[in-house]
Symmetry: C2
Subunit: 209 residues, 2 copies
């Protein structure tokens, strides 16, 4: 079926802001609030309210009343526009603290990120269960990824093992790597890497402290 | 003393790229490589090599030879330009998996981020040690933050406790919050929040999958 929501192409900045609006809306719903104004969103995020209105105008959002946007409808508009319902299958590679934190993060599912497996090479961890998912021997990655049709590998191994693990991910025919390691990976042209550059974020934030 | 490196004002995008170049250079040093070309950096990051040269030209970097940049000197130039030596004191609030992962991340120190304390409200965790740092009762945050002169609070508590914990951080006179929770915080004008919007990143990355 033709989906009117998926026509748009949002820039990365717009996607980033819409996700933050979505967090605010979710909290408003928890608090039982029905309406929200662009000014309220803008104040929380310290941006201009004309920016908020401009972003929301990009959505096919009908839930506007005299007292503000209808929280539930705006939330649904964002979810449809950003494709939350397009589920992607991901595996986490590296069951250390960060991998565990991500495996336990139930929020992912509502954004369409379905963590279906968890891999490690540590015999003491293999077989244990985290949030309903068994930790599998990394050796079995190619076979399991093929069986499950895994789209994304979330890489949370120590930096020194990052490249060799990436090589195994590539062999497993996974085309998207969300890289949480501090190593820049070498990958073939048909594989895309998203570097979650935590230290870059930190330096952007603290540069002027 | 007047520091020639600190005159520049880098944009967030430049800071982000320079941090990634730094990761590459660190790995080159580990591998014993002495020189690197803008082309090599550009290929790894899939950006244009003219962009790499432009970024490096912003640094006070003298280490250029006919065979490329001198890896060690370029690394030092980036560190000085981005102020890695300006140490900031941070505490982690929330000793769950994510907080633990960040507490164990030794890399932070080389970027000038010094994690000096770790807080939680769980009696089973208080008193335990993570990476040489004792977990302290969150009740003592105002007192400890004042004593230590803590600059940054890294917030890794569950979303539903985010705002009340932020209120305590504000009371403790900490002016910078690195927010890993999915909650948008309400803070006074003199407090800055950096939202580590993991789901925003994810959606930017997977929007076209």
């Amino acid at each position: 079926m033709y989906n009117v929501y998926m026509q748009k192409n949002f820039s990365e900045k717009v996607i980033n802001r819409l996700t933050l609006y979505h967090c605010i809306l979710r909290d408003y719903i928890t608090e039982g609030k029905e309406y929200i104004s662009s000014k309220q969103i803008a104040t929380l995020l310290r941006i201009d309210d004309s920016q908020v209105r401009k972003d929301i105008n990009l959505l096919n959002n009908s839930g506007k009343s005299r007292v503000g946007y209808i929280v539930k409808e705006l939330k649904t508009s964002i979810e449809k526009s950003l494709g939350f319902e397009k589920t992607k299958k991901a595996c986490i590679i590296g069951a250390g603290n960060l991998g565990m934190a991500l495996a336990k993060y139930d929020n992912f599912t509502s954004y369409g990120l379905n963590i279906i497996s968890l891999f490690d090479n540590d015999k003491n961890k293999i077989g244990k269960e985290i949030n309903g998912k068994k930790i599998i021997d990394i050796k079995n990655l190619p076979e399991i990824a093929l069986r499950d049709g895994t789209d994304i590998a979330i890489l949370t191994v120590p930096g020194m093992f990052a490249q060799q693990t990436a090589n195994l991910i590539i062999k497993s025919n996974i085309k998207y790597i969300w890289n949480f390691t501090p190593t820049v990976l070498e990958v073939p042209a048909d594989v895309q890497v998203w570097n979650e550059n935590l230290m870059g974020t930190f330096l952007q934030f603290t540069y002027n402290i």
